[in-house]
């Protein structure tokens, strides 16, 4: 077969191929890999589940509603509470199950308040302030309470709803997590007492 007999197919094959420049291909692949990495990271974070018993709890600051204070301060830092048992209760005024345990929590707080070994902290989750204040007033809650501004604390604890209560031991590690409301005062005390005796 000589050149004069070249077929149209041969001409097609001989047509110059202008591919995407290699640097563009590299950029596209890098972008895709970056995107996949971000998606994977977020998926891993969202599937972490709740905090586990024994996990060290990182420091957080909670500013209280007006009228609440702890040791004369309008806010609380978890890092300042080393050596005490800390009970962190997540609640909201729109949460009906929270109402079931509100009185019990306040009553148990009153039991331990004078001892100084236990600190109760109420974290108000995605709530509006007027309703939150009404709730606190209705149940006569006196332990320090404040809004979870930006939902940073609840995101750190990876709460799945309200009410949820986390018990932090004297070393600053998670000792117990209660998902849902408490049924009675004794139920709460049964968790706190062994922690105090540690």
């Amino acid at each position: 077969m000589n050149e004069g007999n070249s077929t149209p197919n041969a001409e097609v094959e001989a047509a110059p191929k202008r591919g995407v420049p290699i640097w563009i291909q590299v950029i596209i692949w890098l972008l895709l890999l970056g995107l996949l990495a971000i998606i994977a990271f977020n998926m891993k974070r969202s599937q972490q589940g709740s905090l586990k018993v024994g996990d060290p709890i990182q420091n957080f600051t909670l500013s209280f509603f007006d009228g609440y204070q702890f040791q004369g301060k309008p806010e609380i830092n978890l890092s300042d509470l080393k050596g005490k048992v800390v009970v962190v209760n997540f609640w909201a005024s729109w949460c009906k199950p929270c109402e079931q345990e509100a009185a019990a929590l306040e009553s148990v707080w009153k039991t331990y308040e004078s001892g100084g070994q236990v600190v109760f902290v109420g974290v108000d989750y995605v709530d509006t302030e007027p309703e939150a204040r009404k709730y606190l007033s209705n149940f006569g809650i006196t332990f320090p309470n404040g809004p979870d501004v930006g939902t940073k604390i609840s995101q750190y604890f990876r709460i799945t709803g309200v009410p949820e209560t986390y018990f932090i031991d004297q070393a600053g590690n998670l000792a117990y997590a209660q998902i849902g409301p408490f049924g009675s005062e004794s139920e709460i005390q049964a968790i706190i007492d062994p922690l105090i005796q540690k």
Partner: protein, 159 residues
């Protein structure tokens, strides 16, 4: 008489001030005005439910808060900013243009542009192949017609 005049003036002045105050008050925002802002946000506790159609008590409280803010003269952007600060940016229907959120705005258009470019190249290469192969296929046209006319002739003969 002079005394009555003074009293009349005082009462008139007081009435003017009182009426002025009444006119200065903003009317309570309607549900439509509240929902116009609420539709730009999402329920804090339910999955993927816009705030304006969410039936939960938490959403009802948030809508009331929007109404209060509107009556205080806040605009939609200020209210959204307030909610984002208080409850996190996840409550916003449209993520703010900052940090990794930019990916939401950049990646889809970028992928569309790449897709259009790939399609353009594919169509262009198909067109080129057709053009190059065109010289061979065109002469077949009349041959096909001749073949068809022969078949038709044969059919006529049989009839």
């Amino acid at each position: 008489m002079k005394r009555f005049l003074w009293i009349f003036l005082a009462v008139s002045l007081f009435s003017l001030v009182w009426v002025g105050n009444v006119f200065a008050q903003k009317p309570t925002p309607s549900d439509d005005e509240v929902n116009a802002v609420a539709s730009q946000m999402f329920c804090p506790v339910c999955e993927n439910t816009p705030l304006d159609v969410c039936p939960t008590q938490a959403c009802a409280q948030w809508r009331e808060l929007i109404r209060t803010k509107l009556s205080e003269g806040w605009n939609a952007d200020q209210i959204k900013q307030y909610f984002a600060t208080q409850y996190g940016v996840r409550v916003l229907a449209e993520p703010p243009r900052q940090g990794l959120n930019w990916l939401v705005y950049i990646v889809p258009p970028f992928l569309i542009v790449i897709g259009v470019y790939i399609l353009f190249r594919a169509f262009r290469s198909m067109h080129t192949v057709n053009q190059l192969a065109g010289g061979e296929t065109e002469p077949n046209g009349p041959a096909t017609d001749e073949y068809t006319s022969r078949i038709e002739e044969e059919l006529k003969k049989r009839n």
